[in-house]
Amino acid sequence: MVTWVFLAAAAVAVVFACLAVVVRNPILNVLSLVIVFFAMAAIFALLGMDFLAAIQVIVYSGAILVLFLFVVMLLNIPRLGRLGSGRPFQALLGSLLAAFLGGLLLAAAALLPAGLGAVLPGAAAGGTAVPIGRALISSHLFVFEFITLLLAAAIVGAVYLGERELQ
């Protein structure tokens, strides 16, 4: 049962990722990506990472992709050109590079000794939010504070870029 759910979520993720790259309507691209991220949230949940599944839906699909959608609608983007149109040589090189990288990673995955995983020990009782939250404010405190600094800097930068006319 769990295996079939995983396979279905993986198939949905791959198909809609292809659509997100190939389709020429930018709004449909963003909406297909929303479905990809929901499928990935399902996979996170299957692997016992309930906190990450929630974060994936709330932050990625809910905040980041809605921001993308706002910008796509704000900028009145015309229909995209056909994938790799106009530059056949560079399109060929890019496709070869993508196939090479994908093949390399697949080969690496195939060479690793296969094994089952497990949900985090002790996480089954209360979810992973508690251990992750504890680790964030104890062993990973510096990185956590650094992320808050990064987000503040990103807000300031976005306001600055959005307000000012570039010369």
Partner: protein, 114 residues
């Protein structure tokens, strides 16, 4: 409490991450619209997240490395936070560029080229 086994080989998750990474690379290489490139970049970032998840899932099964499994999930959390910051600044940049040139076709922006 013993770890609950989930009957999915972790290499499957890794293979899915590889396929998504290739699709994202294809989009970054072949698209010319900056927003479409950025969307493909998000696919690549998420495939990296999936690889983190695969290894965290695998090392959760090895009892000694339970802390490593938690570290993998915390890394995904940080990647999502950085992706949020990156999307904010990148999209603000695209809006500023659109005001300048009325387009966000990356082929039209060569002012940094010598």
């Amino acid at each position: 409490m013993t770890a609950e086994l989930v009957p999915i080989p972790f290499t499957w998750v890794l293979a899915l991450s590889a396929v998504l990474f290739a699709i994202g690379t294809l989009g970054v290489m072949l698209r010319r619209n900056a927003i479409a490139i950025f969307l493909s970049l998000e696919v690549m970032l998420n495939s990296a997240n999936l690889a983190f998840a695969a290894f965290a899932y695998r090392f959760g099964a090895v009892h000694v490395a339970a802390a490593a499994a938690l570290d993998g999930q915390i890394f995904i959390f940080f990647v999502i936070a950085v992706a949020a910051a990156e999307a904010t600044v990148g999209l603000a940049l695209f809006i500023a560029l659109y005001r300048l040139r009325e387009t966000i076709d990356v082929d039209r922006f060569n002012i940094l080229r010598w």
